[in-house]
């Protein structure tokens, strides 16, 4: 297990929990790092665009990689502009592309996301696109230079778990990049389930931000993700989720 690292764009991570942005507080970041073990923390560039004394940039601990996102972008062009701004702000080369043309469900716009991925990958960004789980789009994103694929489990903030489970499984099976489940994970058991399926990492925010005891919930996520990962690596997770084999082999009649 010690060698079981997650590699994104040439960077190595030991944790498979990523803190999403959105509901932001310093307490949340602290719990995510200390109790959930997060090494990758999302930062909405628009949220960092502030003079506030408690600036989020100052609070990110050493050893944690910032993952600026392009929330607020409605087109590829706007996402590209926000990503470049993030780089200027000193946020590094990672970027999570979020492009929404829908203020109600905040569903990502896959077409625009492909366009932005292509431009930003060319500019040397480590591009992590948030997308609606569609196999053709995922392949286009791979070709466009994405470093991971980040399908949504269910609408942001809905806490509805793996509503798109079957389609995420297809991505896990067919795409040779880490699949990171983003949005909709409401409880540790859902994170565990995603990890059992072979997902490389889980991103969550609301589930932690709205928990009664933040550090405790963060620790629960850490354990759930580790448990799911171990189950997947053990090979049992796939068997369990895909149905058991018959006791008498169906092909027992074959002679030579």
């Amino acid at each position: 297990m010690n060698n079981d690292t997650l590699i994104i764009g040439g960077h190595e991570f030991h944790s498979r929990f990523i803190l999403g942005s959105g509901k932001y507080s310093l307490k949340l970041i602290k719990a995510a790092v200390e109790d959930a073990g997060a090494e990758l923390i999302t930062l909405a560039v628009r949220r960092a665009n502030t003079r506030e004394q408690e600036n989020i940039l100052d609070y990110i601990p050493e050893g944690v990689t910032l993952l600026p996102n392009t929330s607020g972008a409605r087109t590829a062009e706007e996402a590209v502009r926000i990503a470049r701004l993030a780089r200027e702000l000193g946020c590094g080369d990672f970027v999570k592309i979020e492009i929404m043309r829908d203020s109600k469900y905040l569903l990502p716009d896959n077409q625009e996301t492909i366009k932005a991925t292509e431009i930003l990958a060319r500019e040397g960004f480590v591009v992590m696109p948030y997308m609606y789980p569609d196999l053709n789009v995922a392949r286009d994103l791979v070709n466009a230079g994405a470093a991971t694929i980040m399908p949504l489990a269910s609408p942001i903030g809905s806490n509805k778990g793996l509503a798109t489970r079957e389609f995420i499984q297809i991505l896990v099976d067919e795409i040779n990049l880490p699949i990171i489940v983003d949005a909709g994970i409401g409880r540790p058991s859902q994170a565990c389930e995603a990890m059992e399926m072979g997902v490389a990492a889980v991103m969550a925010n609301t589930a932690l931000a709205t928990a009664g005891d933040l550090p405790l919930m963060a620790a629960a996520f850490r354990q759930a993700i580790e448990a799911g990962r171990k189950a997947y690596l053990s090979g049992l997770g796939r068997v369990l989720s895909r149905g058991a084999s018959a006791s008498d082999p169906l092909t027992g009649f074959l002679r030579d």
């Binding site: 959105g22 509901k23 932001y24 507080s25 909405a44 560039v45 628009r46 949220r47 665009n49 502030t50 003079r51 506030e52 607020g72 972008a73 409605r74 706007e78 502009r81 926000i82 701004l85 929404m100 043309r101 829908d102 203020s103 109600k104 469900y105 905040l106 903030g157 809905s158 806490n159 925010n205 609301t206 931000a209 709205t210």
Partner: protein, 417 residues
């Protein structure tokens, strides 16, 4: 009971007074409030018809406790459910509504509460709206900030830590024309991260110009969706044209604005119908412009200079809370703003349930921020206020109080792209 809005000023000439009385008493002296005036852009839209159809058919007395319970059990709140939640039958369920509203707010906004402040740059007005302190027949100190005065005000506000500003004017194209407002937006972009506008409704190309000047959000209060009542309260001026006002948000979005805000002024007419129409105005427009950010507010009538008796009648805090909860349950993703018209106690409570944005360090007067913020004697004149505020907390006090409630005050979450 009704509000007594009509007040005569001793400063009006006999001719002006006669004209005012005629407008007040003789409907034939007033223009057709449903007819566009020259220069007003007309757009093709079915949003108004949809909203009005629902509002006109709304009989809130027919809803029962059973309808309210069903509405609270449904995962997605339908228009019928909203009607039940706004009805008198829902009043005994206020606590349950608040619990549900709180869950929705938390799902979509977490613990965050956004802070902003309004900046009135002019209080000249060409309209006679009987309940408003700025109305052209009300005897108040009129003022319009010069560029230098604006900049001074903005500096004072920005120094307090505020990052979002809402620029307001009285509704006078003659005194506060588009280029004047545009200059204010350009200036504000130097001092603030986010610039919103609450000005008289304008045409699409004018909204586009103001967007290019740096504004990205437009607030227009419809005041009341009851067109007959509207006609009786807005007796003269451009504002009298009800349908042009209704389509303002849609024109603003077509002009490139990122977000729009809506409201009825509760206490003017039947508040349940006005609340329904406001929510549906957002609902139908969001379906048409799904990328747009939408927000609602819920102001109640307040006393004004020369008429301290104006009040929100039957819209008490309980009813206000009921409306805000119903908005949140029906439109879980929209911003809800509660202004300084409401008390500190009410605002502290409602940010935990449904509201996502509050104002702080508020003045509804013109050019008085320095004296208000620093306590220094003003060295210049100031323009009078639009209405009396209730919650006068400074940004610092508001920030501290919100943090004290376990919530996260946010000064900016926006980029102009």
């Amino acid at each position: 009971m009704e509000n007594q809005f009509l007040v005569d000023s001793e400063f009006l000439s006999p001719e002006a007074l006669a004209r005012k009385h005629r407008l007040e008493t003789d409907p034939s002296a007033r223009t057709n409030h449903m007819e566009y005036m020259p220069g007003m852009e007309r757009i093709e839209s079915d949003v108004c018809a949809r909203v009005m159809e629902q509002m006109n058919a709304y009989d809130y007395q027919k809803y029962t406790a059973r309808d309210v319970r069903a509405a609270l059990e449904h995962e997605t709140c339908s228009i019928e459910d909203l009607k039940a939640l706004l009805s008198p039958a829902a009043e005994p369920f206020l606590e349950q509504m608040a619990e549900r509203a709180r869950r929705e707010t938390s799902k979509h906004f977490g613990n965050t509460v956004y802070l902003f402040t309004p900046l009135y740059i002019a209080n000249y007005c060409e309209n006679y709206c009987v309940y408003c302190g700025f109305n052209c027949y009300n005897h108040i100190n009129r003022m319009k900030l010069t560029r230098e005065q604006m900049e001074k005000e903005m500096k004072v506000i920005a120094d307090s830590g505020m990052e979002e500003i809402l620029i307001l004017t009285g509704e006078s194209r003659a005194q506060s024309d588009i280029s004047y407002i545009g200059e204010a937006c350009k200036l504000a972009r130097n001092y603030f991260r986010m610039v919103g506008l609450e000005i008289y409704p304008v045409n699409t190309d004018e909204y586009r110009y103001l967007h290019e000047c740096g504004a990205d959000y437009v607030t227009v209060f419809q005041e009341t969706y009851d067109t007959v009542k509207y006609e009786q309260l807005h007796l003269m001026g451009h504002k009298r044209v009800w349908p042009y006002r209704f389509d303002a948000q849609e024109r603003a979005l077509r002009g490139g604005m990122r977000g729009v805000a809506f409201s009825a002024l509760l206490g003017l007419s039947d508040f349940r119908k006005d609340a329904l129409a406001s929510a549906l105005h957002v609902y139908f427009l969001q379906r048409k412009y799904p990328y747009a950010e939408m927000s609602l507010s819920c102001p109640r009538l307040r006393p004004i200079i020369n008429n301290d008796k104006i009040n929100p009648l039957d819209v008490h805090e309980k009813q206000l809370c009921q409306i805000l909860c119903a908005y949140r349950i029906f439109l879980p993703f929209v911003g809800i703003t509660v202004s300084s018209r409401e008390s500190a106690r009410f605002r502290n409570g409602i940010v935990k349930i449904a509201a996502t944005k509050v104002s702080a360090g508020v003045s509804t007067g013109i050019g008085d921020h320095e004296s208000r913020y620093s306590g220094k004697e003003s060295d210049g004149e100031a323009g009078d206020e639009q209405f009396e505020i209730d919650d006068s907390r400074s940004l610092q006090a508001m920030y501290r109080d919100i943090s004290g409630e376990g919530l996260q005050p946010v000064l900016n979450d926006y980029l102009y792209v």
